[in-house]
C-alpha cells in the first residue's frame, strides 16, 4: 500500500485532566504529531476527527474540536467510534488520490461523564436496555462464555493485568503503572462475576493524533515513515444473543483480510509486536487468538509461559495497554501510535525488537466490530 504514518502525537493518559477541554487535548496531540513529522498545519490537506456524541455529552461532537484540529480552511470529515476506524477513513482519503496528507485525531474524556450510563445506551431500547447492563456487565457475560468454552482460568486472566500494569511502568503516557500480583487481582472487588476491578480498564482522559501521507509526500520528508501494509474492519451480529460470545469471529475475518493485504501467511511467525484492545483482561487473550497470534483457547497458557511479555517471543501491549489507561475512542489510535514508536525504535524503555506489528481497535459491546492495522518498518 502506498501510504505511511509520518507523525504521531499523544497526550499523557490520566484519570482526570481537569485543566483541559477536549479541544485543549486535541491541540496538544496535533501539535506533537506535526512536530513529530517535521511539518506544519499548512502541509496537511485534510483532516479526520474521531469522537462520540455520547462520550462527549455533545451532539455533533466533532464541532468542539474543529478549531483545534485545524479544519478551518480544509476539507474534513468525522468518524464516530474507535480511532482506528477514523484512521481507516483517513487512509481511504489518502489512497484515493484526492489528498496527500491526512491528519487524524481521536479524543475522549471519560472523567466528564458516567461511563455506565453511556455504555448502557449501546443496548437496544426495545428488548434489552431496561435490564440495566453496561459495558462491564456485558463483558462479564462474554468473559464467562470464553472461559467456559476454552478452560481459560481466572488466574490466567489476572496474569494479563499483572503483565500490562508492569509494562506501563516503562510508558510515561500510561495512567496506571504498578506492580501487582495475581492474588491482588483476584482479591480486588468483584464488579460483575467473573470480572474483578483489576480485570477492567480504568476511566481515562486522553487524545492521540496521527498523520497519514502518500508515498510521494513521504519522499519529501526527513522522517522515518512507518508503512501501512494492511487495514481491514468487520462487524459481527448486534444482539449478544445472536452471537457466539466465546468467539471473536469478526476479528478473525478482519485480521485475515489485513494479513492478506500485507502478504502475511503466518502471523504467529511474521508479527513481532501486537498492541491489542485489552479493555478487559480476558479480551487480550481473546483478541490475541482472534488475530491469529495464538490458537483458539491457547493464549492463556502461552501467557503463563511468558511469550507475550516484553522480552517474550511476541510482546503484547508493551505500552501497558488499555488496562493501564483507556481513553475510549482514542484507545485504538494510541495502539497504532505505540506500534509506530516501536517500529521506529523510539519506544524508549518499552522498546522491543520489532520490524512488523499489528494494532487493533474495537467498537460496540463485547468486541462486536474490529479494526486491524498491520504496520511495517519497511515499504
Amino acid at each position: 500500500m502506498e501510504a505511511a504514518i509520518i507523525g504521531i502525537g499523544m497526550t499523557t493518559i490520566e484519570k482526570s485532566k481537569i485543566g483541559a477541554t477536549y479541544a485543549d487535548l486535541v491541540w496538544e496531540a496535533v501539535n506533537k504529531a506535526l512536530n513529530d513529522a517535521g511539518i506544519g498545519i499548512e502541509d496537511i490537506d485534510n483532516v479526520i476527527t474521531t469522537s462520540s456524541d455520547f462520550w462527549d455529552g455533545r451532539t455533533i461532537s466533532c464541532m468542539a474540536v474543529g478549531d483545534a484540529s485545524g479544519v478551518r480552511y480544509k476539507n474534513c470529515s468525522a468518524v464516530e467510534g474507535d480511532g482506528t476506524f477514523g484512521a481507516a477513513y483517513a487512509l481511504a482519503r489518502t489512497l484515493s488520490g484526492d489528498y496527500n496528507t491526512t491528519l487524524v485525531t481521536a479524543h475522549s474524556k471519560g472523567s466528564e461523564s458516567i461511563s455506565s450510563i453511556i455504555t448502557n445506551a449501546a443496548f437496544d431500547p426495545i428488548y434489552q436496555r431496561s435490564f440495566g447492563l453496561d459495558m462491564i456487565s456485558a463483558s462479564a457475560m462474554q468473559a464467562r462464555a470464553y472461559m467456559h468454552a476454552t478452560g481459560t482460568t481466572a488466574e490466567q486472566l489476572a496474569l494479563v493485568s499483572c503483565k500490562n500494569h508492569k509494562n506501563a511502568k516503562d510508558n510515561p503516557y500510561a495512567q496506571l503503572p504498578m506492580d501487582i500480583t495475581v492474588e491482588d487481582v483476584l482479591n480486588s472487588e468483584m464488579i460483575a462475576d467473573p470480572l474483578h476491578k483489576l480485570d477492567c480498564s480504568p476511566v481515562s482522559d486522553g487524545c492521540c493524533a496521527i498523520i497519514i501521507a502518500n508515498a510521494d509526500f513521504v519522499k519529501k520528508l526527513n522522517v522515518k515513515p512507518v508503512w501501512i501494509k494492511g487495514v481491514a474492519f468487520c462487524a459481527d451480529a448486534y444482539f449478544m444473543g445472536d452471537r457466539d460470545l466465546s468467539k471473536a469471529r469478526a476479528l478473525e475475518e478482519a485480521a485475515k483480510k489485513a494479513y492478506t493485504m500485507a502478504g502475511i501467511t503466518n502471523p504467529q511467525k511474521e508479527i513481532d509486536i501486537a498492541e491489542v484492545y485489552d479493555a478487559f483482561t480476558y479480551q487480550e487473550l481473546m483478541w490475541i487468538e482472534g488475530l491469529g497470534l495464538a490458537e483458539y483457547g491457547k493464549a492463556g497458557t502461552m501467557l503463563e509461559k511468558g511469550m507475550f511479555n516484553k522480552d517474550g517471543r511476541l510482546p503484547v501491549n508493551p505500552s501497558g495497554g488499555l488496562l493501564s489507561g483507556h481513553p475510549v475512542i482514542a484507545a485504538g489510535l494510541y495502539r497504532i501510535a505505540e506500534v509506530v514508536l516501536q517500529l521506529r525504535g523510539q519506544a524508549g524503555e518499552r522498546q522491543v525488537n520489532a520490524r512488523r506489528g499489528v494494532a487493533q481497535g474495537v467498537n460496540g459491546l463485547c468486541g462486536q466490530s474490529h479494526c486491524v492495522w498491520v504496520l511495517d518498518k519497511d515499504k
Binding site: I117, D193, D242
Partner: protein, 153 residues
C-alpha cells in the same frame, strides 16, 4: 501546556443532557409484546431462508437479510448460555445488587434472550442450566411481561 493554569483554579461547569425518548417498537416487537401480555405466550419468528427461529423476534434475518415470516411459539423453558452476577451498584442498574442476568436460549429458538435469572442463589447459577420463564403479575406489553427466569424444578 498546563503551565497556563499556574495560580488558576480550573473551573468545572456541570450540566446534563436530558432528552425524552419514545422508541417505536415496530410491528414485529409489538406483536411479540402483546402476545406476551395477553396470552402469556412467547413467540419467535422464523427466517424462510435459513430456517432459524429468532426470539426475541426480529423483522429481518441477521444472516440472510430477508424478512422473517412465520411466527412460532417457543419456550417457556430454555437454557442459560452465559450469565453474570453484578455485585457493584452500577449507575445503569435499576435493581438492587446482586443482579443475575443471562442469555437464555428458549426451546425452539436459535438465538438467545437477555433476562434476569432469579429464585436461585446467584452463586449456584451454572452455564447450561435449565430455566423457565416466570410471567409478571403486572401486565405490560414489554419484555418485562416476563418477570424473570428461574431454574426448572
Amino acid at each position: 501546556m498546563e503551565d497556563i493554569f499556574n495560580g488558576i483554579e480550573p473551573q468545572v461547569y456541570k450540566s446534563q443532557i436530558s432528552v425524552p425518548y419514545q422508541w417505536w417498537a415496530g410491528e414485529t416487537a409489538s406483536k411479540f409484546f402483546i402476545t406476551l401480555r395477553d396470552e402469556k405466550k412467547i413467540l419467535g419468528k422464523q427466517c424462510p431462508q435459513c430456517g432459524k427461529v429468532f426470539c426475541p423476534p426480529k423483522k429481518t434475518c441477521t444472516y440472510c437479510y430477508v424478512e422473517t415470516n412465520e411466527w412460532k411459539e417457543v419456550g417457556p423453558k430454555g437454557k442459560v448460555l452465559t450469565y453474570t452476577i453484578v455485585y457493584r451498584q452500577l449507575a445503569s442498574l435499576k435493581k438492587k445488587v446482586p443482579v443475575a442476568c443471562g442469555l437464555i436460549q428458549l426451546e425452539g429458538s436459535d438465538n438467545a434472550m437477555l433476562h434476569y435469572i432469579e429464585e436461585i442463589e446467584p452463586e449456584k447459577i451454572t452455564t447450561g442450566m435449565q430455566v423457565e420463564a416466570v410471567f409478571a403479575d403486572e401486565k405490560s406489553a414489554s419484555i418485562h411481561a416476563i418477570s424473570h427466569f428461574r431454574p426448572v424444578k
